[in-house]
């Protein structure tokens, strides 16, 4: 058992647990968007940040990947943590104005509006990559991935063409934290295999 502290409360973790897993075990809430038990964490959304302190030393890390270690002093609501969270939520509100899930999460953390201009009023996707990871790690088909870099990054099937690799299982829709995949699925999946078999194509 690994013993450490979250918000000065003593906690115990199994070997291999992350800080987030430990916190959840104790009912300490840490917000997440790109985290899902079914897949490996990737550290993309950064909402689950926590601050580690040791005397004067302090560091902000993501709890979904930071391994539980003996003696850690973890703070989930420190000023630095709240600052990161507040800005991420403000930026997400402007980035995905069409997502009620984001709006709700922001409100939960006291972020009511955003100072930023929204460039895409219909946007819902936050590019957390859960859809892609579930497709690769759970379904095992990798029908979608991110393409492009930085501000041009997006989720797409290969060459932006609907792909028969997609088995239309809907796992991506299930895990999507903002509902973006619901609308996007049709542009990802090609003709179902059974249909192709009927007309004699492979």
């Amino acid at each position: 058992m690994i013993e450490f502290f979250i918000n000065d409360q003593p906690v115990k973790a199994e070997s291999g647990w992350t800080v987030l897993e430990t916190a959840r075990q104790y009912g300490i809430h840490i917000p997440t968007l790109c985290y899902h038990e079914a897949v490996k964490p990737s550290g993309a959304c950064r909402l689950c940040v926590v601050e580690l302190k040791d005397g004067d030393w302090s560091k902000v890390v993501i709890s979904c990947m930071y391994p539980a270690q003996a003696g850690l002093r973890v703070y989930t609501e420190s000023e630095r943590v709240q600052n990161v969270r507040r800005w991420i939520l403000q930026m997400l509100l402007a980035q995905c104005p069409a997502s009620p899930e984001i709006e709700e999460l922001a409100a939960q953390y006291g972020v009511k509006g955003t100072r930023f201009v929204s460039h895409h009023p219909e946007e819902k996707c936050i590019l957390c990559g859960l859809c892609m990871r579930v497709c690769a790690e759970v379904v095992g088909v990798s029908a979608i991935s991110t393409s492009g870099r930085g501000v041009h990054k997006k989720i797409s099937p290969p060459f932006d063409q609907p792909s028969n690799t997609c088995v239309a299982c809907g796992s991506c829709v299930t895990v999507c934290p903002t509902g973006a995949m619901r609308e996007f699925l049709d542009s990802v999946r090609g003709t179902p295999r059974i249909e192709l078999a009927r007309v004699g194509k492979k």
Partner: protein
């Protein structure tokens, strides 16, 4: 470039012991006439761009035509970057070391004739800007005098495509010493003793990194990989490129020694594809080293085998980050991962991996040769050795310089760099590229070492140094770096992908005279969130230029926001070009140069600029010889 010596080299059988390397070196040196005249043409990128290749051709022709009464025919040799790029093309006559600058193909005849007469070509010599005195020899020029060239010691002296030349000048001596006179642990201890810190940016102690890898090997076993990071991408930085081009064997030798210390069998050099000459020279160097038995199976007959492969990067800045570099090497998208398990433990293909920068590797052979204590004696206690900088921007002596760690900023900029053209003090120096910070003139005495720069809010980075004068606007500079990083962000994590754009948008507002004073505090708060929240060092350090410019030049930000004024005269929406009727002679030059036809006026009568038509390109200002065009 390759010449007869390469053919001779082919006949050399594999070197199978330290003795055979020493014997061959003796043979090369014995075959050399110490009085052999060499005409050395700098083939660094700067010199090539200003016509070094044409100069070389002209020199060869002139040499063919000349009837020289010299016993040994002069050789023409091309080398890597000599560093004094603003004075290129450079030609140096060896062994005397006569230094010719700004050489044109038309000067070739005179240079060759001067060899015969034994008198240098006076007009091609460098002149001291203060005294006007001509300086004949390279080492007497202040630009070189004040430097301590260790990493660059062979660059400019050797033909990088000829391993013989490198060996003659001491190449692979350290490798022989390491393999036959030292145990792997002794090599490690020597590197640790030297205090060498990674030259790629973060400054992690190299010896400690190697040691951590060895600990990881104890747990996980081998293979372990040795990787060289040649993905230099900072705007204005070209140190690593010049090292790979000018002395590729130093990098290879460093890697082989590192591999020996770690027991690695495979190494990789990750170079961006934008560096074709570096790739070419490294490839040639590796081929030659393999033929000689200095790389590959059973190196120098020691029983130790190690080989290197070059991987070309597609030019993404983020691939200089260790985990993104590994992803790219593995054939995946160049995205970083959190490093809570460090990459020395879990690097390339999940294996223990030592990744060091080009300059770091190039330092290793000398440490082994001369000892860790010798190296630790150079520089300052926590930043030992020297550092190569690419000195660019508003500075007279643009080029590649190497100084001991800890010299004051002003020594590099004012003394070696010759200060700002026009003689006024510099306004700021950006160190560490887009991840670094902007240091004002008041901090000119800051020692340039890892810890002092970090304390000042900047960082060493890989060694870019951009000098700015009063006509550079700090808001614009911060915007420039943000635009660069916005393009280069991999987009994986939200603070970096969205945050950099939002910071840039806020700066855009400032540059238009929009925004309120409170926005400055908001911008700083957002910057801190990005620093804290980003996944890798790209996002983690991206706010540095913004934070340091606000810290040191807050008044200039406030001038934009409150007074709607850009003091440097850069931000287009806040400036107006005017013609001073007192000074204008009516020469019409600006009117003809103006791409918009916005300047009106008759000959010999003062001109005027139509503000409505003016696009604020500044061409009139540059074209006016009478300083009649002003910006306000």
């Amino acid at each position: 470039m390759a010449k007869e010596s390469t053919a001779r080299e082919m006949q050399i059988k594999r070197l199978d012991s330290a003795e055979s390397l020493a014997a061959w070196r003796e043979q090369i040196l014995a075959a050399k006439d110490p009085n052999q005249v060499e005409i050395v043409v700098c083939y660094g990128t700067g010199c090539l761009a200003s016509g070094a290749a044409q100069v070389e051709t002209a020199l060869r022709e002139a040499l063919d035509q000349a009837e020289l009464d010299i016993k040994v025919r002069p050789l023409i040799k091309t080398t890597g970057c000599r560093g004094f790029c603003s004075r290129g093309p450079l030609v140096v006559i060896q062994p005397e070391g006569v230094f010719y600058q700004k050489v044109a193909p038309a000067d070739a005849g005179e240079i060759v004739a001067a060899l015969k007469e034994g008198q240098p070509v006076e007009r091609l010599l460098y002149r001291d800007p203060q005294t006007g005195q001509a300086i004949v020899r390279e080492e007497e020029i202040p630009f070189y005098q004040l430097q301590q060239r260790l990493v660059l010691r062979r660059i400019g002296a050797v033909d990088p495509t000829d391993i013989e030349d490198t060996i003659a000048q001491g190449g692979y001596q350290a490798l022989a010493k390491a393999l036959f006179a030292m145990t792997p642990d002794q090599v490690l201890q020597e590197v640790k003793k030297s205090g060498l810190r990674g030259r790629g940016g973060a400054g992690f102690p190299t010896g400690r990194k190697w040691e951590s890898a060895l600990k990881a090997i104890e747990k996980k076993g081998r293979p372990v990989y040795v990787v060289c990071n040649g993905d230099e991408g900072d705007p204005g930085a070209f140190m690593d490129c010049m090292v790979m081009e000018g002395d590729p064997h130093a990098v290879l030798e460093g890697m082989i020694i590192g591999a020996y210390a770690l027991g690695a069998q495979q190494g990789y050099i990750y170079v961006r594809a934008e560096y074709p000459v570096a790739i070419k020279h490294l490839t040639i160097a590796m081929d030659q080293a393999r033929q000689l038995g200095l790389l590959g199976e059973n190196i120098l007959g020691s029983g130790f085998s190690f080989d290197i492969q070059i991987n070309r990067g597609a030019g993404a800045f983020v691939c200089g980050e260790s985990t993104a570099l590994f992803a790219s090497l593995e054939g995946k998208a160049g995205e970083p991962r959190p490093k809570y398990v460090r990459s020395v433990e879990e690097g390339l293909w999940g294996r223990p991996t030592v990744l060091n920068n080009v300059e770091t590797w190039a330092n290793v052979p000398q440490i082994i040769e001369k000892g860790g204590d010798w190296y630790a004696g150079i520089g300052v206690p926590h930043s030992t050795g020297t550092k190569v900088f690419s000195l660019v921007g508003k500075v007279n002596n643009v080029g590649l310089v190497e100084v001991p760690m800890g010299v004051p900023l002003t020594e590099i900029v004012e003394k070696i760099g010759g200060g700002v053209p026009g003689g006024e003090p510099f306004k700021a120096v950006q160190t560490g590229g887009p991840s670094g910070g902007c240091l004002p003139y008041e901090l000119k005495d800051t020692p340039v070492d890892f810890d002092s720069l970090t304390k000042a809010g900047s960082m060493m980075g890989s060694g870019g140094m951009i000098v700015m004068d009063r006509r550079d606007c700090v808001v614009d500079v911060a915007r420039y770096f943000l635009r660069f990083l916005e393009e280069e962000s991999c987009g994986k994590c939200i603070p970096c992908r969205l945050g950099l754009t939002r910071m840039r948008e806020m700066l855009d507002d400032f540059s238009r005279g929009q925004g309120a004073e409170e926005d400055l505090a908001e911008l700083q708060s957002l910057a801190r969130a990005i620093k804290d929240g980003s996944l890798c060092a790209l996002g983690g350090s991206a706010p540095n230029p913004v934070l340091t410019t606000i810290r040191y030049f807050k008044d200039e930000y406030l001038a934009h926001i409150k007074e709607k004024r850009c003091p440097a005269g850069v931000c287009k929406e806040l400036i107006t070009y005017r013609i001073d009727p007192e000074k204008c002679t009516g020469c019409m030059v600006c009117a003809r140069a103006c791409p918009q036809g916005a300047i009106s006026g008759q000959k010999k009568k003062p001109h005027a600029i139509s503000e409505a038509d003016c696009i604020r390109c500044g061409i009139c200002l540059e074209s006016c010889k009478f300083e009649a065009v002003t910006v306000s």
